[in-house]
């Protein structure tokens, strides 16, 4: 008996000692590793860590998949111009893009721009890239951005048999011109070709067959780049590690390392607090709304509330809800104010049309549908709504705020006399249902390009859209918009669309969130924002 007791004790003692040993060991070696400015002091390098909640799926500049890919790839391969927070375009690889007649655009490249192998970035590289992106075998999903160019088809592909793009001409090593099929505003040119043509080096890729280009080693781990940072290591769902490109043409970055760390949304606030990340990207490093107050209260952090961009739209299948009165009733029945004030705690805005307050095209005379359950009921009665009918509301899973908002909407609709059943779906399932029109109501987040919303608006409203909505007047307005270069007229057309949409309610929006950005005060010169965050990245510094 005694020996047994002894062995128990010994066992416990050994376990305890081991546990303590492990703990104290980490305590010692890890001091200063995670707190405050750990990452910088540890390796002696000036490092900035950015938290993101989506993985950078590819670093392929021919078509980055998703927001984070776009940001990271843009740091390696600079776009011609980039859009800033105030919706103006800043020169990047191009010093200037100019046009006299809205058809021929002259692009002057920065003459100091150099590849990391020391050779200059030339007009030939730009044309080479454009040809790759417009090659159907590469199947770049960004090719449509270039469909406005002469010599490319409506999908943005070079017709089979042609070798050259007729609308693109080299003037000298650092100058080229591009001609569009129809008159195009400079804004649209900059927003498509300016932002999405990420020039790749001809010297490194000229021997790779186009059909193998996506699978090539270069696209997995680009070695010759022209941006402010160079790739060190990339682990898809985990991190991207970049180091400064000392020869960057706009001036060597002051920080030596820039890391993107992929994490769960709930981890963002924890890692901001522990100092493991210095900042987030508002819409790509999503902080759950429940953490807003906590983060705003943290010392040593500055928070920035962005503009309302990400908008929740409700797809309404016209086969299930055929009458405009019924759709208007659905819009009236939803208590948007309550969602914004209570659920979003004010970090958002109630919307029912296509544009948020951030859009230059918002028609302020069209007010969002206010909560009015009585009106909803009477509209439903007028239209002869069958109260026994149940609609399925398909909601994207994973966004806890949206899930709660969907519950509120379902309750609201039930109170107004529309039976709603909620169904959760992952993105692939939801998109599949919407595209095949196998849904009644569906909610999806849409972040519209603020300066050129036409492609989005056209997709949602044009005949053949996934709502099943069709209106000849709208089709006409969309066609006029695509050929208009006069801003005043463009604004007027958008106003008309908003007025029609307010009556027909083909696809009401519910609310738009203002994404929160947070940044550690040790980083200077940077500001978390969805547009233009990295334009001045070479001037960022750490204290």
């Amino acid at each position: 008996m005694k020996s047994r007791f002894f062995s128990t004790k010994k066992f416990l003692a050994v376990t305890l000692i081991l546990a303590l040993g492990v703990l104290s060991a980490c305590g010692k070696s890890n001091t200063g590793n995670t707190g405050g400015n750990g990452a910088a002091s540890e390796s002696g390098k000036k490092t900035v860590n950015i938290g993101v909640t989506y993985s950078p799926n590819t670093l392929n500049p021919l078509y980055p998949v998703g927001l984070v890919s776009t940001y990271v790839t843009g740091l390696l391969f600079q776009p011609l111009v980039d859009i800033d927070e105030d919706l103006t375009f800043k020169p990047m690889l191009a010093d200037s893009i100019e046009t006299a007649d809205n058809k021929t655009f002259t692009i002057k490249l920065n003459e100091n721009a150099k590849w990391t192998d020391g050779t200059p970035v030339t007009a030939d590289d730009v044309i080479f890239t454009l040809k790759l992106m417009s090659n159907a075998k590469v199947a770049s999903t960004y090719a449509y951005m270039f469909a406005i160019l002469e010599g490319l088809d409506d999908t943005g592909y070079l017709p089979e048999g042609s070798e050259e793009i007729s609308g693109v001409k080299k003037v000298d090593d650092h100058t080229l011109t591009m001609t569009t099929k129809a008159p195009t505003t400079l804004t649209i040119f900059q927003d498509t070709i300016g932002r999405y043509l990420l020039t790749v080096p001809q010297s490194a890729l000229k021997d790779v067959a186009p059909e193998n280009i996506n699978k090539s080693e270069f696209m997995q781990k680009p070695t010759v780049t022209n941006g402010p940072f160079k790739l060190v290591e990339y682990s898809r769902d985990h991190f991207v590690q970049l180091e400064a490109n000392k020869d960057y043409f706009k001036g060597a970055p002051k920080i030596e390392q820039l890391n993107f760390k992929v994490m769960q949304p709930t981890a963002i606030s924890a890692q901001l607090q522990s100092g493991e990340i210095d900042m987030n990207i508002p819409s790509a490093g999503v902080i759950p709304i429940g953490d807003y107050d906590k983060i705003k209260g943290l010392k040593g952090l500055t928070t920035v509330e962005g503009p309302a961009i990400a908008t929740q739209f409700m797809y309404i299948n016209e086969k299930s809800v055929p009458d405009a009165k019924q759709r208007k009733a659905i819009s009236y029945a939803i208590n948007r104010e309550m969602i914004v004030n209570n659920l979003l705690k004010g970090s958002g805005e109630a919307v029912s049309g296509f544009f948020t307050s951030y859009s230059p095209y918002l028609d302020a005379s069209v007010k969002p549908d206010a909560y009015d359950p009585e009106k909803a009921k009477s509209l439903l009665q007028e239209s002869g709504w069958d109260s026994g009918k149940t609609l399925t509301l398909t909601v994207l899973s994973g966004d806890s705020t949206l899930e709660q908002a969907a519950n509120i909407m379902a309750e609201n609709l039930k109170a107004a006399g529309v039976n709603v059943k909620i169904q959760m779906a992952d993105l692939a399932t939801l998109v599949d249902k919407i595209v095949k029109m196998e849904y009644d109501l569906g909610i999806l987040t849409v972040s519209m390009t603020p300066v050129n919303p036409l492609p989005d608006v056209a997709y949602f409203l044009q005949t053949g859209n996934p709502n099943g909505y069709s209106n000849a007047k709208i089709d006409e307005l969309l066609a006029s918009l695509s050929a208009e270069t006069d801003e005043a007229k463009i604004k007027q057309y958008y106003n008309e669309i908003q007025q029609i949409v307010a009556e027909d309610v083909p696809m009401p929006s519910i609310y738009a969130t203002k994404a929160l950005g947070a940044i550690n005060d040790r980083v200077t010169g940077a500001k978390p924002k969805d547009f233009g965050m990295f334009i001045n990245v070479n001037e960022w510094d750490v204290k």
């Binding site: 020996s3 047994r4 062995s7 128990t8 066992f11 980490c26 070696s29 890890n30 590793n33 995670t34 990452a39 540890e42 390796s43 490092t47 993985s55 799926n57 590819t58 998949v65 590469v138 199947a139 770049s140 999903t141 090719a143 449509y144 951005m145 409506d154 999908t155 943005g156 592909y157 696209m219 997995q220 682990s235 898809r236 769902d237 985990h238 991190f239 590690q241 390392q257 760390k261 992929v262 994490m263 769960q264 709930t266 924890a270 890692q271 522990s274 493991e276 992952d426 993105l427 692939a428 399932t429 998109v431 599949d432 249902k433 595209v435 849409v446 492609p455 989005d456 997709y459 949602f460």
Partner: protein
Amino acid sequence: MFKYVIRRLLIAIPVLLGVTVINFIIMKMAPGNPVDMLISPQTPAAALEAKRIELGLDAPAYVQYWSWFTHLLRGDLGYSMVTYEPVGRMIFDRLGPTLLLMGTSLIIGVAIAIPLGILSARRQYSKLDYAAVTGSFLGISIPNFFLGLGLIYVFSLWLKILPSSGMSTLGGNGGFVDILLHLIMPVIVLTANVAGRNIRYVRSSMLEILEQDYLRTARAKGLKETLVINRHAVRNALIPIVTVLGMEIPILFGGAVVIEQIFSWPGIGQLTMSSIMSRDYSTIMGLNLLAAVIVILANLLTDIAYALVDPRIKYSK
């Protein structure tokens, strides 16, 4: 024995094939496809069609499977439909971290479960026994994600002594200590699970043995108590445990999915999640094949180990 192993391996081949076929069918039946994930309102239908052709998704399903299969025979798992990385390399890169995490957890978990299970059986209804049983219930019933988040709160936010995610400090010089620090929390979570499950198995198996007549005989012979326990009881009690441990490996693979998400551990689990979410067919197929191979191998190893520890079992054919 040797013949038996060969026979089992040969049987494994049709089983694996069946698994891949079933997986392929289920995967294809799930709504959505890799091209859907690229749909942004602006993308024209013709561009999506071009993408479909480029990925080979325009062919009938059986042709797609056949093409995957013939490539497999040549040792080629294909390319990811999202990143264009070779699937084989992707899986290989992720296997190391997962094996490190699982291996450590399994070893520590078993190292805790076996002695604690034996002790608690020998001293049934003692304080230690109650503590062990309660602890084991806690280990099983606390959800992994909850324990994980709790640990992050305590060790990363409050005490600030452990990094909350990843496998190494970015930009740091890596090294053994760095990885060890990142390993501690995920290992604690998985170990709690493994130990929790197995303490109960060991304890009940040991309790059963302790009632056996041959132990009374051994004691009556005047053998020392330690000898009775170590030689006669423990050895026999561990036989069923071998089976349980064999089952532990597939379970750990499943548990790693959650843990790797929480701790951003760059392993197989995280890859599995992201490839399913983006309907990355070729990667899903590769991962599924790996999982099937692991389950089959784990079962085979269990059976072999069983024969080695239990002389009553012989595989004659």
